[in-house]
C-alpha cells in the first residue's frame, strides 16, 4: 500500500470505529429495543407514575407523547403513532380492537394481576379477550363551594343562573351529553337526534354561566376552586382532595386551615365513575417490555403514588385497602359502602355517537 493511502486509512480507522461504537446501541442485533414510547395524557409522564419500572429498568429509555383527550389519542393511534403503549378511558375500548390497533395481553405474565378486582379486569375485556389493563379510576361529580352554594343534590346546579360567572364545566362533548342524560333521565347510550338537539340548546344557554370550560384539572380547575373563583364545577375527586388538603407552601407542607369550604356532591341522579385503561399497540416493537411496564404500573409503590400524590384511585386493591388518610377516605367515599350503588359507570360509545357528540360540543363552543 502506498504511504499516502496507508496514512489515509490510519486516519479513517478511528473515525470508523467511533461511528460503529456510536451506532451499535442504536441497532437492534436481535431482541427488543430497550426503549418505550407511551402515548399519554399530560401529567402522567411524571416519574412517580412509573417509578417501579424505572427502578427495575434504569437503562430503558421511556419517552412520552401526549394526547389531549380520548379522541385525540385514538386519532394519533389511527394516524400511525409509534407508541408501544397508549392510555385512554372507559367508553373507547371497542375502537382500538375494531381497527386492529391493540394486541391481546397475556395476563399470566403479570405479577400484580391478582391484586386487580374482577370488575376492573372486565372493563379491559372486549369479546371475552383481555386487551387492556385497568389502572387509574375515580369519580365525577359536582365540586362546590359551601360558602356560596347550599347542598347540591342534582347535576342541574351547573345550569343555575344564581352562580353565573362562577361555574366551570369540563371542556368535553361526551361529558356534556352524560350530564344532560342524568338530568333528563335519558339513557345515554341511546340518545336520539331530538334529544341531542335539546342537549345542544341547553348547553348553549348554559355557556355564559361559566367562568371558563376547564381542560386541565390541576392547571385551570383546582387553582380557581382554591382561590374561590369557581363555586360549582364538574370535577373529579382529585380536585376535591386537593381542596381538602388546602394550599401547599414552598416546603411542600399543606395548610388545611386555609382550604376553601368545599363539598363533593352525591347527586340524586348518581355520580359518574371512570376507569383509565392501558393497551399495547399491535405494532409495538417491544411488547414484552411494554407488558413489564404495565405490570409495574400496578405495583404497590407506583399505584400508591397515584393515590397519595395525585389522588387518583388505582386498580391495585391492596393499595386502596391500605388507605388511612381521612382526606383520601372522604375523596374516594371509602367509608360509604353504598357509594358504588349510586354511581353510573361510563358506558361504551359507538363511533357515530362519539362523532355526533363532539361535533355538538364544537357547535356549542362556537356560539
Amino acid at each position: 500500500m502506498p504511504e499516502r493511502a496507508r496514512f489515509r486509512a490510519a486516519r479513517l480507522l478511528p473515525v470508523v470505529l467511533v461511528s460503529f461504537a456510536l451506532l451499535l446501541p442504536a441497532c437492534s442485533l436481535g431482541g427488543e429495543p430497550n426503549s418505550l414510547l407511551v402515548l399519554e395524557w399530560a401529567g402522567y409522564e411524571e416519574e412517580d407514575f412509573w417509578t417501579d419500572f424505572q427502578t427495575a429498568n434504569p437503562e430503558t429509555a421511556v419517552d412520552f407523547e401526549f394526547g389531549e383527550n380520548d379522541a385525540d389519542i385514538l386519532a394519533k393511534m389511527q394516524a400511525g403513532s409509534q407508541a408501544d403503549i397508549f392510555h385512554f378511558y372507559t367508553g373507547w375500548q371497542q375502537f382500538y380492537v375494531d381497527e386492529g390497533l391493540v394486541q391481546e395481553i397475556d395476563t399470566s405474565k403479570l405479577t400484580n394481576w391478582d391484586k386487580v378486582p374482577d370488575s376492573f379486569k372486565e372493563l379491559g375485556q372486549v369479546d371475552g379477550k383481555q386487551y387492556y389493563i385497568p389502572w387509574d379510576w375515580g369519580f365525577t361529580s359536582i365540586l362546590y363551594n359551601t360558602e356560596h352554594v347550599p347542598e347540591v343534590t342534582s347535576w342541574d346546579v351547573l345550569f343555575d343562573e344564581a352562580y353565573s360567572g362562577h361555574i366551570s364545566m369540563w371542556d368535553d362533548g361526551p361529558a356534556a351529553v352524560t350530564v344532560s342524560s342524568y338530568i333528563n333521565g335519558w339513557d345515554e347510550t341511546a340518545i336520539t337526534d331530538e334529544q341531542l338537539a335539546q342537549i345542544e340548546q341547553d348547553w348553549i344557554a348554559q355557556k355564559p354561566l361559566n367562568l371558563h370550560y376547564w381542560d386541565s384539572e390541576y392547571e385551570n380547575l383546582c387553582p380557581e376552586v382554591m382561590s374561590g373563583e369557581i363555586w360549582v364545577a364538574y370535577a373529579w375527586q382529585g380536585c376535591y382532595a386537593s381542596a381538602l388538603y388546602g394550599p401547599v407552601d414552598e416546603d411542600g407542607n399543606y395548610h388545611p386551615e386555609d382550604a376553601p369550604p368545599v363539598a363533593y356532591a352525591e347527586p340524586e341522579e348518581g355520580r359518574n365513575s371512570w376507569v383509565g385503561l392501558y393497551g399495547i399497540s399491535a405494532d409495538s416493537d417491544s411488547p414484552e417490555l411494554a407488558l413489564e411496564f404495565l405490570d409495574d404500573k400496578l405495583a404497590e409503590l407506583t399505584c400508591g403514588n397515584a393515590v397519595t400524590l395525585f389522588y387518583y384511585g388505582c386498580a391495585n386493591q391492596e393499595v386502596m385497602d391500605a388507605i388511612e388518610d381521612p382526606v383520601l377516605i372522604e375523596a374516594f367515599g371509602i367509608d360509604d359502602p353504598s357509594i358504588l350503588e349510586s354511581t353510573n359507570f361510563t358506558p361504551p360509545v359507538t363511533a357515530e355517537q362519539r362523532d355526533d357528540w363532539t361535533a355538538m360540543w364544537t357547535r356549542v363552543k362556537s356560539e
Binding site: 383527550n69 381497527e99 360567572g165 367562568l211 371558563h212 363532539t358 357547535r363 363552543k365
Partner: protein
C-alpha cells in the same frame, strides 16, 4: 468560478427545498384532507375519494361562520390597536432616540427573550380576580368587589394580543421611518410646513408601506390565534383558531379541521388582497 445565475440557484436551493417540503407539501396535504368525507378520525388506509362533505357541513353550521366573522373583527381590532400603539415607539426610535436607538431597540426586543406562554400567563395574573388590576381598583376604592369580567372575556383576549404584538408591529414601521430621506423633511420646513404638516404630508405617507406591513403582520396570524384565547378568553373569547384546534384534537375530525383551515386561509387571502387593492400604497407613499 460560479456564474451569478448558478450561484443564485445554488443559494436558493436549500431554502426552496425546505419550504417545498415543510410548507408547500403540508399545505397541499391539508387541502387534500379537507376533501375527504370522514366526520371523525381519518383512516388513511381507505381510498381517497373526492368529497365536499366537510365544506357542506361548515356552510350548514352558521355558528362556525359567525365565529370566523367574530375572529376577523377581533383580528382587525388587535391589528389596528397594535399598529397605532407601535407607531409612536417606532417614531421615537427613528427620529428622537439618536445614538441610543440601538439600546432602545434591544429593550424593545427583550420581551421576545421571554416565552410567549409566560407573557400571556402574566396577563392572567394581571387580570385575575386577585390580580394587579383588581387589587389596584379595590385599594383606591373604585370597586368594593373584584371585577369578574376582566379575565376570561373577549376584551382580555384583545388586550393581551395587542400587548404581545406591539414590539413586532414596531419593527416594520421603524424600518420604513428610517428609510425616509431627512432632506424631504428639511425641504418641507424650508417651504414653511410646520411639524404637524410635515408629519401628515411627508412622514406618515412615506412610512405607510411599513405601517401596512405591521398591520397585516398582526392581522393575518391573529385570525387563526388559539393559544391566547384558550388561556385568557374563557367561553366568550373562543376564536376560530380554537375551533380548528378542537376539530383536530378534541373531535379527532381532521378532515373537518382541514376544511375549516382552508376556509380561513382563503378568506384571509381575499381580505388582504381586497385591502391592498383598495389602498394604493405606492400612490400614498409618493
Amino acid at each position: 468560478m460560479l456564474g451569478r445565475r448558478r450561484a443564485f440557484r445554488l443559494l436558493t436551493l436549500p431554502p426552496a427545498t425546505w419550504l417545498a417540503l415543510f410548507f408547500v407539501a403540508p399545505l397541499i396535504l391539508v387541502v387534500a384532507i379537507s376533501f375527504r368525507p370522514e366526520a371523525g378520525p381519518i383512516d388513511f388506509g381507505d381510498p381517497w375519494t373526492l368529497s365536499f362533505a366537510q365544506y357542506e357541513r361548515i356552510f350548514a353550521t352558521p355558528s362556525y361562520l359567525r365565529l370566523l366573522g367574530t375572529s376577523i373583527l377581533i383580528a382587525l381590532t388587535v391589528a389596528m390597536a397594535a399598529t397605532i400603539l407601535a407607531y409612536p415607539i417606532a417614531y421615537f426610535l427613528a427620529f428622537r432616540a439618536r445614538e441610543r436607538a440601538t439600546l432602545y431597540l434591544i429593550l424593545l426586543l427583550i420581551p421576545f427573550a421571554v416565552s410567549y406562554l409566560l407573557r400571556v400567563m402574566a396577563w392572567r395574573l394581571m387580570l385575575g380576580q386577585e390580580g394587579a388590576i383588581n387589587s389596584f381598583l379595590m385599594s383606591v376604592g373604585l370597586t368594593s368587589e373584584p371585577i369578574d369580567l376582566l379575565l376570561y372575556s373577549q376584551g382580555a383576549v384583545i388586550v393581551t394580543l395587542v400587548y404581545v404584538w406591539i414590539p413586532f408591529a414596531a419593527l416594520p414601521i421603524y424600518a420604513a421611518l428610517q428609510r425616509i430621506d431627512r432632506g424631504h423633511l428639511e425641504a418641507g420646513a424650508d417651504l414653511g410646513a410646520g411639524p404637524w404638516s410635515r408629519f401628515a404630508r411627508i412622514t406618515l405617507p412615506m412610512a405607510l408601506p411599513g405601517v401596512l406591513a405591521s398591520f397585516f403582520m398582526v392581522f393575518i396570524p391573529t385570525v387563526g390565534e388559539y393559544v391566547t384565547p384558550s388561556l385568557v378568553g374563557g367561553t366568550e373569547g373562543y376564536m376560530y383558531g380554537n375551533l380548528i384546534q378542537d376539530f383536530f384534537g378534541q373531535a379527532g375530525a381532521w378532515a373537518g379541521g382541514a376544511a375549516l383551515s382552508v376556509l380561513m386561509l382563503v378568506v384571509t387571502i381575499v381580505l388582504v388582497a381586497v385591502a391592498l387593492r383598495v389602498i394604493d400604497v405606492r400612490r400614498l407613499a409618493s
